[in-house]
Symmetry: C2
Subunit: 120 residues, 2 copies
DNA sequence: CTTGACCTTAAACCTAGGTTTAAAGCCTAT
DNA sequence: ATAGGCTTTAAACCTAGGTTTAAGGTCAAG
């Protein structure tokens, strides 16, 4: 499949695919006689997986560290669970931080509202 | 006060202060005869305010839009409450998104754990 | 009178994840 | 054979919020 076809199938841009290849996040494509990249149809699901992982808060660096393993032998369930657990902890930390931020903003609003009351 | 003094008092770097000045987030400093910046002591509290606002999730752009007003006449309580409320909504949205992300990661872990069980 | 600590500027560099552009080559239909 | 739509590359550009560096000026102490 040519880069435009695979891009359309996966719902990403061609520039993004070339960018991923340059960064080593996906394997270098085979080339046709004319130099055009020729990708296997399986890449579509990998590209979709990358999007999903990004949606879960994984960086490309983290994703790529899993991908490299995929070339060799697939990552084990236990390893995947470990990675996900680490990410889970940081998402939980983010929630705690965001809640605290929310609390502080609410307190500030309350304070200002009170001031407005007494000024009125 | 020279830039190093004000930086120390506010707990920020000198490069950051120059950066803020260049970006128009703080007013250009008066200059001594030798060309050194000469800042009023009040800038310390402004710099601390900027830090606080960043901690609440405001971008420098947002902060600067408030600061510009401060040159003219101080922002009103009602206006401040409006800005804070907008920010509050986005923090709440972030919390919702993060919780959803957490839920999805947990589901994935559960799925993998189940698979490991049946493989064992 | 020189050393060291401070100050000045512009411009380059950094992370992250790409997009955009320029200049060129290829392919298909007409 | 030529128009348009695809492809190639390297390199520059983008946001955000700064830091770092280079090359130089200033000031107080010893």
């Amino acid at each position: 499949m040519k880069i435009g076809e695979i891009a359309k199938a996966a719902g990403v841009t061609t520039s993004r695919i070339r960018f991923y290849e340059k960064r080593g996040i996906i394997a270098p494509a085979a080339r046709d006689a004319n130099g055009y990249r020729d990708y296997p149809v399986e890449l579509v699901s990998l590209l979709k997986f990358i999007e999903q992982a990004q949606g879960l808060g994984f960086t490309l660096k983290e994703i790529s560290s899993v991908e490299v393993r995929a070339d060799d032998h697939p990552i084990s369930c236990a390893e995947a669970i470990d990675l996900l657990t680490v990410k889970l902890r940081s998402v939980e930390a983010l929630i705690v931080e965001a809640k605290d931020r929310k609390r502080r903003i609410e307190a500030l609003i309350g304070e200002l509202a009170g001031r407005e009351q007494s000024a009125a």
